[in-house]
C-alpha cells in the first residue's frame, strides 16, 4: 500500500462527493486484486474477499497459489484489477470469478505482471543462461543507442568489435531480440 492510495485531495464532506472525485483510484474492496509484497506468498496476486479492519484484510487466491488467509494491508499492493465478487465470497466463488475475468492472462499482459515474471525467471537462470542474457542486453543496448544517436543527429560511435558496420541489419535479427524472450518487452520503434 503506497502513500498514493491513502492521501486524498478532495474534501469528503461535500454533498456531491463521489468515489470518482477522490484522489484515490484503487480501493480496498471485495474483489480487488492485490499483489503480495512480503511473506511466504510474496510475488503472487490474490483477491480481497473481505475487509476486516483498517489494517487487515481477508484474502484468497484459489488458482493463484494463495490460500485463504488474513493478511496485513502493509504486505499488500493494490492492482488496477477488480473482480466481481460479493463481500465475504467463498473460495469457489472467487475461483469462478477469476477464470471468468481472465485474471491470470490479464495480469501477465501488464507491465507489472511482466516484471514480476521476469524477475522470477532471472532468479532461476543457469550460469550459461545468464551469459546469454548479458550478450543480448549488450546487443540490444547497442541498437538502442545507435537509433537514439541517429535520431538526435549525433555521430554514431564506431565500435571496435563491429567489423561489418556497413552491412544492413536484417529485420529478422531485430525481431528475434524483441519477441523471442519476454525479458525485454521493448519496442524501440517509438524512437
Amino acid at each position: 500500500m503506497c502513500i498514493r492510495d491513502r492521501v486524498s485531495t478532495q474534501s469528503t464532506w461535500d454533498i456531491n462527493f463521489s468515489k470518482e472525485q477522490m484522489g484515490f483510484k484503487r480501493f480496498v474492496e471485495a474483489g480487488r486484486v492485490a499483489y503480495i509484497n512480503f511473506g511466504e506468498d510474496h510475488g503472487k496476486i490474490c483477491v480481497i474477499a473481505d475487509v476486516i479492519n483498517n489494517n487487515r484484510v481477508l484474502v484468497d487466491g484459489p488458482t493463484l497459489g494463495v490460500s485463504r488467509q488474513v493478511i496485513s494491508l502493509r504486505r499488500i499492493a493494490l492492482t488496477d484489477f477488480v473482480v466481481k465478487v460479493p463481500k465475504g465470497a467463498k473460495t469457489r466463488t472467487i475461483q469462478n470469478a477469476i477464470s471468468e475475468f481472465g485474471l491470470i492472462k490479464k495480469w501477465g499482459e501488464t507491465k507489472w505482471g511482466n516484471k514480476v515474471a521476469t524477475h522470477a525467471k532471472r532468479s532461476k537462470l543457469n550460469d550459461f543462461e545468464r551469459f546469454q542474457v548479458m550478450v543480448l542486453k549488450r546487443q540490444k543496448s547497442y541498437l538502442v543507442n545507435k537509433e537514439v544517436a541517429q535520431a538526435s543527429g549525433k555521430k554514431v560511435h564506431k565500435k571496435k568489435t563491429v567489423k561489418k558496420e556497413s552491412k544492413q541489419l536484417k529485420p529478422n535479427a531485430i525481431n528475434s531480440l524483441t519477441h523471442t524472450h519476454t525479458y525485454y518487452p521493448v519496442s524501440y520503434t517509438h524512437l
Binding site: S123, D127, F128, R130, F131, N172, S176
Partner: protein, 208 residues
Amino acid sequence: VSTQSTWGLYFVEEEMVKKFKWYPTEDEKKPFTRKSKAKKKPVKARKGLVPGAVCIVLSGRFKGRRVVFLKMLPSGLAMVTGPYKVNGVPLRRMNVAYLLVTKTTISIDAAAKEAASFDDKFFAKAKETKKPEEEKLFAEGAQGKKLPENKKEAQTKIDKPIVEKLEKVMKQYLASRFTLRNGMKPHEMIFQSLTQNINPSSCLPLFT
C-alpha cells in the same frame, strides 16, 4: 615432571639422572611422523560432474575461466581443458574442490575417447637432475623450458573434436571469465539447474 607423590617424583628423577649424562642446550626437533597411517580417501562424487560439463575455475592461475571437464584421473584430480584455442587453458589437472560445476554440458564423445588413454604420468612434472647453479647458467642451449611436443599433440588431438562442435555462443561463453559484479549474490545464483532452454541458435549474433 610428574604430578605424583614426592616419592614418585624422586624415583623419576633418579631414572632421568641415570639415563642421561648430559642434556642438550636446545630441544631437538623431531621430524613429524603420522602415528596412524592416514589413507588417502577417494574423492567424493560431485553433483553434475560429467564428461563435457562446463566448470568455473575458482582458484589458481586460471581462476574465473570456464573450462570443460574431461575425466577424473586415478589420483583424484580432474582432467580439464579450455579448449586451448578458445580460452587459453591447456590440458591440465585440477582439483575438483576448486571447480564450480555448472549444468551446461558439451558433447565430447570423440574427445572422451582420446582422453581415456591419459593418465597422471602424462601430467606429472619431469624430475630435474640436480646440477650446480653455475652449470645451469652456462649450459649450452639453455633457453628456458619448452613445451614438449607430445603435450602439444595431445592438446590438439583432444581439443579439435570439441571446438568443431562448439556453437558461436558457447565459444563466447567459454572465452569469457566469471566475475561478480554489483548486485550479484553468489549465494542466490544457480549453477546446477536449467529451468528453460534458451536455444543458442535463436540468439542471433548480429555482428560477425
